[in-house]
Each structure stands twice: as C-alpha cells, then as structure tokens.
C-alpha cells in the first residue's frame, strides 16, 4: 500500500540505523513491543567502523532476536528495500557524507540526522538535495520524534517508564512539533496529561538551518485527517514562526494551533547570550520570542502568556474541540502490551551466550535452517543439500549441491601415503580409537596439506579483481618468490594428468553459468606448465577456484561476502569433510587386519648428531 505523502512513519515503517547504537535500537524495540507490534521497526544496523558485522542481539519483549548488521549503508539498503528511513547517528564529521549517500538511494524517503555541530553550509547543501529529490530530513541536532503506537526514532521518548507515562504506545489526536529535542518528552507528557495524547511528535533540531521546518511538519499534520489539533514549540531566533503565522492567515492551516515561542527571557539579557541551540540567537527585533508570539497570536493561533500556562491552554483548546464535535470521541483506550509486575530490563533480561542460526532442536521436530528434518528426508534432499542448509543457511541451486557432492567424492581419499591417512594409520596401529585416529589425521590439514583450496581461491580471485593478465599474475608471484597456491603436483604432470582435476573441469564447463575464474586458472596453467610440466592446476586449486565461480553463479553473494566465505575457511571444510571419509576407511582397514604397533625403520632415517664436545662446549665445567 502506498503511504500518503503526509505520512513519514507508520506501523509498518522499518528503519536502517547508521551507527552501532545498541541502546537506541533496544529502546526502539521496547517501544515496538509495548505498542503491540509483531515485528521490530529496526531492519538493520550499519556498523561503519568495519568491525563487527553479521548480527546484533537485542531483546524484543522477553526474547532475544538478531538484527542484521552490515559494514556499509549500501549493502543495508540493498538488502532491505522495504526500509525507507535511515536514522543517521554518524558524528558531525561524517554526517554529511552519510546523509548524502542515504538521500540518493531511491528506496530511502526520510533521513534523520542526530549529530550536533554540522557545518551550516553542509546542512544547506543537504536541504537543497532533499528538496530536489522530494525527500525529508529531520535534524540535524535532534533526538528525532515518534508516532505513538507505530514508530519511534532512536532515543526519542526516553526510557520505558516514560513511554508508559506519556502513553506513547497508543495514538492520540495531537500533532506536535518543536525545535528542541530535549523538550520532546516533556511536551509529550504535557499533551498526554491534558488531551487524549500525541498522534505524532517531531523535534526538528536546534540548528539555524533545520533539514525540515516547523511549518513543513505542521502542513503534514494539517493534511493528516487523524490529527485534530496541533501544538508548536518555537524558539527565539530565525523567522520560521512567521511562516506559520502566514500559513494560518492564508488558510493553509485550518486546524487549531496552540503555539509558544521560547526565549522571552532574552529581553533582560545583555547582548549576545548564545543559548545551547545554534539557531537560538535573535538578530533584530523580529526574531525575538515576544515578537513571534505576538505574530502567531495575531494570526489566530492560541498563545499563552507564558510557557507556564501552556498546559492549561492545551486542555482548554482540547475540551473546546470536543465540545464542538471536532474531536468526536476519545479513541478507545489501548493498553500497552503487558509487562509483568516488577519488570526491569536490566535484571530480568538475560543475555544469551551463544547464538545459533543454523539448527534448532527445541520444537517438535529438528530444523535445519528452518527446514524440518522430515521434509529433508521425504523430499529426497541429498547430502549436498544438507551441507548447503547447515553451512550456507539456504538450499542453494542444484549445481552447487552437486558440486559439493562431487568435491566430497573426489577428495574422500588419496591413498595411504599422504599426511592425513598416514597419521590416521599410525595412530590406529598404536591401538587408539576411531576418534583419536581421525583427529590425528585431521590435524595435518593446513597450509601445506589440503589447505591450498582457500589460498588458491584467494590468490586467483584477487589477481582477477586487480585486472592482472595470467602472465602478469605468474610474473608477480615469481617476483615475490611465492609458489602459486593450487598450482603444481608432486607426481602428476601434463603427460600424466590428474583425472580428478579433469573431472572437475568438465563438470564446471557443463554445469556452471559462470566460470571466469576457472578460465583464468586454465590460462595460468598454460604458462606455468610451459615452464615445468608438473606445474599443473591441482585438485585443491581446482576445487577452490571452481567454488568461487559457483558462488558468483548463484548471484546471491556480493564480492565481499564471497571473500568472507573464503576467509572463514569454508573451502577447507570441504576437504576436511571429504577426507574424513577416507581416514575412517583407513582406520577400519587397519582394525580389520589387526595391524600391530608401527615403528619406523632405522634405515629410513638419516642420523646426523653433533659430537659430544660440540654439544657441551657452551657450558663451563662447574
């Protein structure tokens, strides 16, 4: 459903939070919970420091939930196209860049800028941009705002106790807008005590150039049929309040407005006392609070003689609107989603120590990434599908699961002489059990044995990304004196090819939509085998390289995510898993023929010790 223009936030609004603001996110979720919402209003968090990503844990009511966390805004926006709000917690140094980026994404409609101290010229550029694009900025230098029962920005509305006290979990009839963010809670409380409560409240921020003005929000409220009266809290300095007076006079604002401009005290102050707010300095008589209050009153707004009378005036106006039938009847009172007595988030919410996002054994049935085990069986999922669910949390296309199975078959064993099998055999012969035998073999898997899968994927991928030709890549590795991972074999050569590699290559060309990294590797192999005939693409290299092509073929992963999959060691996982089959085989094989303790023959060891004198010459005789 398309939202009307005057709605910035409603029950379905979700936001992307820029900045790792755990407390603010938690407060938004507390609000959501109290308001009886079924899902959280925070779609994602951007942690721009480049540090933690993946998920952030927060409580939604009693339960911990995970909210996706990214390292950049672009990814967050791409993954959450339904979110049209960015709440920008970036500091004054980077708020401009982040806000510009956010405004330029088509899916983003509103950017809230929390930072105080943005240079005025940057703010004005942002305002020009948002007007050109037909979007909204709230802030800078604000705590934000809220639509009770629907959506709340960051820290606005304060702690849980205040959300309850000011009834921010349910909708009222009053729209209010203020400059000051610090006065938001106070105003919401005052309005809830003297009327049926707040429909929407926004603090535009105390800067000289606010991203959106008091009037712009009042015009939104004017257009919103759910809002019956409006309250404005202006401030000394600037001329925004005259725009409001004009709009009332011209009939652009017809709803009842209660207004007060703060800063009436300036008349007793010496020159140029700068208030906390950047915008709050009167230049000339017209910008004083007294003059603006008078203008608003003259235009037809209800203006008290002092802030002290504002509460009573709101009540009088509200009662009057009820008497006149403009506010027909008070809304049905909605209770907040129940919170048990003695509720204290600090002590009663127990943060979990472990997160599991791949399997869940608590329900009636075991789940693999959300898929019930009965479905896995009844629908004939292969072992590749199970790996896909448990490693990648999704059932990937058939060519991926087929490849996983192919890779497992090919890497399952490579005879008794390689490191892993040898260790497993020796351990079995020493009388140890299956677990110990397999473990001793697994422990040999690493940079020299089996581990080339990861490195091959990494090196070839990076070379391609840097735009190197196969020749340049080979030359560069030569210059660095590094062997190219995934190239070279102890035994196999051009004349004596490795059948496993041939099989993988054939499969890749027959099944993969994309295979550019394999093409590149084959070109590299042509150059290296011209130098020496055993410098062929080996099985580790081929698995790693083809896997990159596979991940790209799915179209699911961005390049940095593919890098992360490689860096986590996923590809070595294929080798560990595959080779375990072989090692168990070797264990069983040894057990079957009751082999005895292995002892390596003397003649297979070259003994070369120092002389006794040489060994002792560095310790003086006592």
């Amino acid at each position: 459903m398309v939202k009307p223009d005057y709605v910035l936030f409603d029950k379905d609004t979700t936001a992307i939070i820029f900045g790792n603001q755990e407390a603010a996110v938690q407060r938004m979720l507390d609000f959501d919970y109290l308001s009886g919402k079924e899902s959280p209003s925070v779609a994602a968090v951007v942690n721009p420091s480049g540090g933690r990503k993946g998920f952030t844990k927060v409580f939604f009511g009693w339960h911990e939930i995970l909210i996706p966390m990214y390292n950049n805004l672009e990814t967050a926006v791409e993954r959450h196209p339904e979110s049209d709000v960015v709440i920008n917690f970036a500091s004054f140094r980077s708020a401009y860049e982040v806000s510009t980026e956010a405004l330029n994404y088509p899916s983003i409609k509103t950017v809230v800028i929390i930072a105080e101290g943005l240079p005025e010229r940057q703010t004005r550029e942002l305002i020009a941009l948002r007007k050109k694009l037909g979007k909204w900025i709230i802030g800078p230098a604000t705590v934000g705002g809220f639509v009770p029962g629907a959506f709340k920005i960051g820290n606005a509305g304060g702690a849980l106790s205040n959300l309850l006290m000011s009834k921010l979990y349910r909708s009222g009839s009053v729209g209010f807008v203020s400059k000051s963010g610090g006065m938001m809670n106070e105003m919401a409380n005052m309005i809830s005590l003297n009327s049926d409560g707040v429909y929407e409240g926004v603090a535009i921020g105390g800067d000289k150039y606010p991203g959106s003005t008091l009037l712009e929000h009042l015009l939104r409220y004017e257009a919103n049929p759910d809002i019956k009266m409006m309250v404005v809290l202006g401030e000394v300095g600037g001329t925004d309040e005259y725009e409001i007076a004009d709009a009332i006079k011209k009939g652009e604002i017809k709803k009842t407005v209660v207004a007060w401009v703060t800063g009436t005290c300036t008349k007793v102050f010496p020159s140029e006392v700068q208030f906390g707010h950047a915008g709050a300095m009167a230049r000339g008589e017209a910008e004083t609070a007294d003059a603006k209050n008078a203008a608003l009153k003259e235009a037809g707004a209800y203006v008290p003689s002092s802030y002290d009378d504002l509460d009573d005036l709101i009540r009088e106006v509200y009662e009057d609107l009820r008497a006149k039938g403009i506010i027909i009847e008070e809304r049905e009172e909605v209770e907040p989603q129940e919170i048990p007595a003695g509720y204290n988030p600090q002590t009663m919410r127990k943060a979990t120590n472990i997160i599991s996002t791949i399997s869940d054994d608590r329900g009636e049935e075991l789940l693999y990434a959300g898929v019930p085990i009965s479905k896995v069986i009844s629908e004939g999922y292969g072992i590749g599908d199970v790996i896909s669910l448990l490693w990648f949390k999704k059932r990937l296309p058939v060519y991926v699961t087929e490849f996983l199975e192919l890779a497992l078959k090919i890497t399952a064993d490579h005879g008794p002489c390689v490191s892993a099998a040898h260790n497993a055999i020796v351990t079995t012969m020493a009388g140890k059990d299956l677990t110990a035998a397999v473990a001793s073999g697994v422990l040999t898997i690493g940079p020299r044995f089996g581990g080339a899968i990861d490195d091959a994927a990494r090196y070839f991928k990076k070379a391609r990304e840097r735009g190197l030709t196969p020749g340049q890549f080979v030359d560069e590795m030569k210059a660095k004196n590094v062997n190219i991972p995934g190239i070279g074999h102890r035994v196999k050569s051009v004349q004596n090819p490795d059948m496993r590699v041939k099989l993988l290559e054939e499969w890749a060309y027959a099944n993969l939509p994309r295979h550019e990294l394999l093409d590149f590797a084959v070109e590299v192999e042509k150059i290296t085998t011209a130098k020496r005939n055993n410098l062929i693409l080996n099985v580790d290299g081929c698995v790693g390289i083809v896997f990159v092509d596979i991940l790209r073929s799915t179209g699911i992963y961005a390049e940095d995510e593919i890098d992360e999959i490689i860096n986590m060691g996923t590809l070595n996982g294929i080798f560990v898993l595959g080779r375990t089959i072989g090692m168990i085989g070797h264990y069983l094989d040894q057990k079957r023929h009751h082999s005895r303790l292995y002892r390596h023959p003397w003649d297979d060891v070259l003994y070369m010790l120092p002389s006794e004198r040489e060994a002792l010459k560095y310790r003086k005789a006592e």
Binding site: P119, A128, G158, N162, M183, N185, T264, G276, S305
Partner: protein
Amino acid sequence: MAQRGIREYDAKNILAKHIERFSNGTFKYRGRVALVTPERDIESVSTDKPWLKTSKLVVKPDQLFGKRGKHGLLLMNATYSEAKNWIEEKMNSIVEVGKVRGKLTHFLIEPFIEHDKEYYLAFTGHLEGDYIHFSTEGGVDIEANWDKVTTINIPVEANIEDVDLLPILDGVNSEEGSTFRDLITALFKLYCELQFGFLEFNPFTYNADEFFPLDTVARLDDTAHFISHDDWGDIEFPVPFGRELRQEEQYIKELDDKSGSSLKLTILNPRGRVWTMVAGGGASVIYADTVVDFGFGDELATYGEYSGNPSTGETYEYAKTLLNLMTREKVEGGKVFIIGGGIANFTDVAKTFDGIINALDDYAEKIKEHGIKIYIRRGGPNYEAGLEKIRDAGQRLDLDMEVHGPDMHMTKVVAIALKNLNGGERKDGQTRLCAV
C-alpha cells in the same frame, strides 16, 4: 556551536592568505595588519612589521563592535607615535558602545589608504542560498543609503562562475564592471569554501589588482573547524564586547570544553534572588522565560544549562560553582534555588543528582545561613531514584526543600518558588495561574 564573530585582524589575515588563490592570481591583498593587545604593545609588534613606522596609519579597536568612528574610536592618517599615544591612552579604558559597557583591549592598526571611492560588499547566508549585497556607495552611512544597495541570491547548489552578476552591477561602467565581477566572484568563493557565515566589506576600495578591505566584519561557522582549521590558521573566537567572562563562567567554559556533555553558565545578576540550575538546552530557556514572564527578570541571577548526560563529577562542579556564587552576599528575604528540568531523553537523573547532592553536602550550612529555599522538578531515566535520594539528602541536611516529579507541569515549580519569594504575587499582574 554556530556562527561566531572573529576579529577584523584575523579576517584580514585569512583574506590575505587566500585571495590570490580564489581569484586565480587576479587580485592580491598584502594583509598589512597589526594587533596590539595588553600583552603585546605596538613597539614589540613593530619589529616584524616595519611598515608601522614608515606609513601613515589607521587605528581602531578590534573587539567585535562597529560604528567605531561615531564613538570617537577611530584614528586616521596618524604617525607611529600618534598611534602609540592614542592606543596607550585608550588601552584598558571602559567605554560605552550602544547599550554595552566594556573594556578596550585589542587595537587594529593598518596603513592609511588614500582613496576617493568607497564600495560596499557583503555576503549573508539563508536557508536556500547566499545573498550578495553590493553598492558603489559604501561607507559609514550605508544603512541610510540601503536603497542604493543591490542584492542577488546565489542558490546553494549554484556555481558562482555561472551566475550573471550584471543585475547588481547596474550603473557601473563596463571596465569597472568586469573588475567587480571578478572580485566578487573570488571573494564569494572564498566566503563559501572557507566556511564564513557572514562577510562584509564596508567600505572597500581597489587599485588595479590590489584589493583594500578598509573595514571588514566576519563571522565563521565554528562547527566547520574540522574542515577549515588549516585555512583559517591560528584564529580565536572572542567573547562579544562587554561580555568578558567572569572567573566562574570561565571555569564552567573550561569544564564544558573538556566534556562531551554540555555545561553553560552566564551570570546575569549576582545579587539576584532567583537562582536556577536547569537540565537541557530547551528547558533552561523556558525556566528563564518563566521567571521573566512572571516579572522577576531583574532578580534572575544566572542563565545556564547542564545536559547531555554529564558525569556525577561534572554535575558536582557545576552545582558547587552556583552555590558558591549564591552564598556570597546575603539578601533580605532570602533566595530561591530552582533545580529544574524536563523529562530527560537519556540523561541519568540519579547519577546527575548524586553530583548535586554532593554539592549540597558541602554548602548545607551556608544554604541555611543565606535563607535559600530549594525547589526541585525533574523527570527522565532513573528519576524516581534521583528524586528519592535528593529528598533524603534534604531531610538529612535539614534544608528547606520541595521535590517534584514529572506529574507536575515543568514550570509550576517556578510559580511555587516565586510565590514564596514574593508573598504570593506574580509581578506580571496576572493571577489566574498563581494558585498552586
């Protein structure tokens, strides 16, 4: 913070450093300016500025106020020794400018420029762009001649190079017109890129490629310091004339500079009977307003705020500074101390109130001696605990104290306090809301 005035001396140094770059070498300004202060007299300044002793000079105070000629604070066409005597005579003297009294401490000296034409040029910002104001008849009477000033708006996203400046150069001959166009373009670019909020030359003159800003007023956007500090060089943002900081104000300012929170203090009337310590920028204004609205403006002792979740220690220092000022002079009828605030968004009320309680502990005896009644109203995170603690402290220390939470209207506490101070009368003559 915001736009803040800088000294003419600093403004001219920035001009001298950058005008060639922004005009692609078309204009230069030698920036012959010298600043004499109580710490650096004209003699010591003249060692690296030999022109002081060889040129005829103009001398004027450089303390963010204008109309110096009209106040007899402008010395023209003077020799070095005349300038020296004039400064020595005026240094540290108190003068009244408009409604403000202040001490003269900074003097700007420049070479006297013979000229026959005086022009006016100013740049001012507004929400959607910047205005260029220009007149061929600049000088002291610019306000009277404002009808001769022409103005053009440059939108924020516009490039000044592409803007036709002809409309403001109407009536200027074509040769001069092209010089002005280049000059205005260069200075406008400098104004934008160096983050000025306001820049005015009244008057300026020029000679071939040399620009002479005879009188310059400038404000910089101090929030842009992180962008422009290298271009600005070593500048200061002086306090407005007549607003030299008192020791206590200076102390709070230093506290504020070091803190991520906000601590502000302006002393209005140390003999006043109404003292406030208010949390939050918005609420602090409203409390002061209410005191003034009720007719107690002349009794309001300070304006200030503490906000942004200051630490217990910072709040303690702030409260102590106020109590120290408050307990210096006894006043007939006693005083009221209003510890106010709205409902905080994230400031921890209990934590900040711990700081206030520590200060009350220190000053309890003096508070009683001076007949100070304390009125408290606050809400926000942990307010129940905070109010409870301060209520206990009031009883323990036997202080005359009233404590209210967010169930009472924010400024009602002001009405109660003033009623007690003034026998129940609101000085503004309205009585409707005085009954509490």
